[in-house]
């Protein structure tokens, strides 16, 4: 359940950037290959924000797809699961995008 530590980290980061400001919405980006479950973050968010300047804030999560590049055929593709296999059959791939776990913006009151 690393999502609890991750949610604590994001709440702390917002409070540190905006000390004392009341936050009404937090927007996150959780990449498809980030290893973090968006629903678990949603579950933890209300618990972690209780009693803080983020209490009651809504949480908007964007989940951008992964992009991988095949080292054999050179093609960029979106893997259809956590194991990135190129349609050409190669497993020799580099992950270009989809591993990010990021706070994109927040809305303050």
């Amino acid at each position: 359940m690393h999502e609890l530590a991750i949610t604590e980290g994001l709440v702390d980061a917002v409070r540190e950037r905006l000390p004392g400001r009341r936050v009404t919405c937090v927007r996150l980006e959780i990449g498809a290959l980030s290893g973090v479950v968006a629903d678990s973050v949603r579950f933890c968010f209300d618990l972690v924000t209780e009693g803080t300047s983020l209490e009651g804030a809504t949480l908007e999560i964007a989940q951008p797809p992964a992009v991988c590049r095949c080292r054999i055929c050179g093609r960029d593709f979106e893997p259809d699961g956590p194991i990135a296999m190129c349609p050409c059959g190669s497993a020799e791939v580099t992950v270009l995008a989809g591993q990010d776990l990021k706070i994109t913006s927040v809305q303050v009151a």
Binding site: M1, H2, A5, I6, E8, G9, L10, D12, A13, V14, R15, E16, R17, L18, T24, C25, L28, L33, G35, V36, R71, P82, I83, M85, A91, E92, V93, V95, D100, L101, K102, I103, T104, S105, V106, Q107, V108, A109
Partner: protein
Amino acid sequence: MCGTCGCSSGALITVLAPDRPVPAWLGGGHPGRAHDHGPHEHGAHDHGPHEHEQGPGGQDAGHAQIPDASGAGRTVQLQQKVLAKNDDLAQANRQWLRDRGILAINLMSSPGSGKTTLLERTTRELAGRMSISVIEGDQETALDAKRIQAAGSPVVQINTGVGCHLDADMVAQGLRGLDPPSGSIVVIENVGNLVCPALFDLGEEAKVVLASVTEGADKPLKYPHMFRQADLVLLNKTDLLPYVDFDVRQYMSDLRRAAPDAMLLQLSVTTGDGMQGWYDWLRRRVPPPHD
């Protein structure tokens, strides 16, 4: 987690060096879940290397305030990695280790794969040739630290309590407790878990995933996030291959799909088969001691 710097304040950290007495808490008393930061020394919370006012690309997001379309509030762009604090602390650990010429390995596996047994044998067999110290992560008890101590390596036990992984701040504290010599190896034995530790950079030079034939061959496909991170995968308990249903060829093929860049070494810590390959891998990476 600490509300100011994001470090974890809930871990209990205990140093068990061979030349130090067993601390009192093993018999009861706790030294306290110290908020006593490690190599990065940011006790006063004046953050040096991890001034995280910048976006991941180095450009300052500048707290740009854009009026929200609804007019109900204002949007503040942050563009900040959620784990930026941990990553910054990890980078401080990495720099601290490099400055001192110390090789740090993050050793991860499921519970029961043989991490501690691997380190016991490694410590004994490399005694006098390579200096090894260990940071042990477990939810509870100092059982593993006592085994490593008995094998002859200085060791710090970190008990994460409810935590399922080590983070960079715990490791910073552990490093300060160990004070490893230049030209030595620090193995960070993470909490036995193939999920959470994959996300937390500790400042290591390499990630090693230990697997064993008794766990079944499907782990690289079931836990791809963990295996994708690995620089080296050690497949342990190969002496049991005649007794278990484990297809090594299939395992190698699946591992290649999950982790195309990882190197695989097969070994049996019990019999010693294949251990030389692991020692050679370590030896190639240990930096020369600094003066």
